[in-house]
Symmetry: C2
Subunit: 392 residues, 2 copies
């Protein structure tokens, strides 16, 4: 059950996905039956440990990694922060004076703000531009690599415009560079929070050392995320204490959420292909309907290298915030940029600015589809848009 008010249409799945009923059920069961601390020595503790082990093992099926390469965190923000700040601090601790990080101008604030923090700590950051299609160029990454580059962080798919970045290609480039330089650096991180429902996240194929995921973006529990950390890649901890998660993330493990996340992975894996096909079709329909109904409208970001659930359209001259508020009245829930941005009380999108479309940065809508979305939702959206834009 997605929306209790079934007259409303939810088109903001990039912000949040509802928790699947099956996930809620396994979480309840776990909270009732396995409440003991997984570090406890007695029977109930050992059982909790087994439950955690089995949930971790199941998740390795999706990531194609080893169980000890998964760090459970409190969510995507913590995972991104841990990758960026953890690699930076570890490099500093190993004697590097001013470690250099390469990232892009369209990353999620959890990466961008962590990068800015490394600058305050004496680091150096290159924020790569993207093409007008919202794609980072592998050549640009190559040109930005330096002797002191310790990390490249490029998101797998953008949270506002859904563009899919060339992660595997960048992975190969970095591998070559490291071989040529006989260096362990740079490590490669990707935020795959938006991509996981539609893209293959095999970490070996992608060639990444770190990968971020979040339950909230994959119909899973809130307050739980993952940082995949390649075996033997050094990382400094950010949370200090009891030494859980191999000393990299202290704090008693959130077992019900871990079990729920494992179930969310299982469901995501089983639906990935089918949903990608189904939503691609709805997306194509939406592009056509929007462009035909509003001839001035433009789609932001590549329409090819793009998540099947993402539609981001510019309505030149119309204020994004007005559109969101007016559509809300018409029963449609969506955003003008990433939800996190609304906290800054800044209705302009830095992602769309980075496409070179300054005039669209305050005139665009992010329409994101999910498991409950239908073509009918697009019809309702277009109808409502016509109404609020006084075209009917």
């Amino acid at each position: 059950m997605l929306n209790p008010k079934n007259k409303r249409i939810f088109l903001d799945y990039a912000s949040v996905t509802p928790v699947v009923e099956e996930v809620l059920e396994v979480m309840q069961k776990c909270a009732r039956e396995n409440f003991a601390n997984p570090s406890a020595l007695y029977e109930e503790g050992r059982e909790s440990k087994e439950v955690m082990k089995s949930a971790r093992q199941k998740i390795t099926d999706s990531l194609k990694c080893r169980p000890q390469e998964i760090i459970f965190t409190s969510g995507g923000t913590e995972s991104d922060n841990l990758a960026v700040l953890g690699v930076f601090q570890s490099a500093k601790n190993s004697g590097l004076v001013s470690p250099h990080i390469i990232t892009t101008q369209i990353e999620h604030p959890a990466v961008l703000e962590a990068c800015r923090q490394t600058e305050r700590w004496g680091g150096e950051v290159t924020y790569l531009p993207v093409s007008e299609d919202g794609l980072v160029s592998v050549k640009d990454v190559e040109n930005a690599l330096k002797e002191n580059t310790v990390l490249v962080s490029v998101m797998m798919a953008n949270n506002e415009i859904g563009t899919i970045e060339p992660i595997a290609e960048i992975g190969r480039l970095i591998k070559k560079w490291r071989e040529k330089k006989s260096s362990n650096f740079p490590y490669f991180h990707t935020d795959a929070c938006q991509a996981v429902l539609y893209q293959d996240i095999d970490v070996r194929r992608l060639g990444v050392d770190f990968l971020t995921l979040d339950g909230i973006k994959m119909y899973g529990p809130r307050g739980i995320g993952i940082l995949y950390q390649k075996f033997n890649v050094p990382l400094s901890q950010m949370l200090y204490g009891g030494g859980q998660e191999r000393g990299l993330r202290s704090g008693t493990e959130n077992l019900p959420a871990i079990v729920g996340l494992s179930k969310a992975f299982e469901i995501a894996d089983s639906l990935r292909e089918k949903e990608s096909v189904r939503l691609s079709e709805i997306r194509g329909y939406a592009f056509a309907e929007i462009l035909s109904a509003f001839p001035n409208a433009k789609i932001n970001g590549s329409t090819e290298e793009r998540l099947p659930n993402n539609i981001n359209a510019c309505f030149p001259g119309v204020d994004s915030e007005f559109l969101v508020v007016a559509l809300d009245v018409e029963g449609i829930a969506l955003s003008y940029s990433s939800t996190c941005r609304t906290l800054k009380e800044d209705s302009s999108s830095y992602v769309i600015s980075a496409l070179g479309r300054e005039n669209c940065a305050t005139s665009s809508l992010r329409i994101t589809l999910g498991r409950q979305s239908t073509k009918g939702d697009i019809d309702s959206l277009v109808k409502a848009l016509k109404k609020v834009l006084n075209l009917v």
Copy 2:
């Protein structure tokens, strides 16, 4: 329902408390009905925001604070870390070269390890000893205060031996010192994770600037904690991103857990007095039974200034880990020190060492009571202890 295997006896409530059924229910309801991001501008988002606001408001009833003084975190470890590292970094940023922190030798690892981290960052830490009763002396705190002291962190009640520290007295001392020196420093933090079920946590009465709580220790959800931060007291963030929690804790809010925690507070408030009386009586019974059955046994820590649910007994010459494992076989679940310590694969307790009882550090049992505990559990425990110690 505490324990599905009703033949087993759980005496490790200081490690973890089961989630109350009512808490699970409000969490389920919230996950189903309020899945939207509280930062979203549309109706569902505004409703989530209202739900969060109301949960936050309810929690202020227990803490006697303002809503904007509550920071939701992922748990006690993060809250402790945020207080210690956040105050330290904020002081450094304001120009202090080597900020000084005062804490005790018996704090939880989440405080101790964070303090050690500040030493690696150029800070200075005083780890105060405690009396043989496990109590910190207010005079010792006073003598340790220096011009560069930025934080005093003393736990409200110890997680291993249950001793209740003189927080309100230390609060008054610090207030006087600040007035005398016309300084904002030092701030005062207390970890109240173990105390909240039995002690009044009115932050004004305690005179604290920061206070840590964790759902897992109060029959609430996992993966959620609180850091109370007194209004206007400066703090550096540890998680960078979307700017949630007034910029102090980025990451989408874990709404079901926040709502569940609020319910856990409500229940804790309603049971505090009654459970304190009931468990004090069982604790007194346990002290008497243990000391009479095992004349060599000693109680670790003050028997007066002590949480009603804590029994920590030394059995000289007997290995703690052996006891825990043997009692487990007899159907009794308890710990030898804090659960976090077992991760270090070190069966010695630094808390009991700090009492000057080196020989008890590896020969003690932590027996902690909770809502399901009865006198009959103590009878079973004593009987099992006699069996494993070959006294029958």
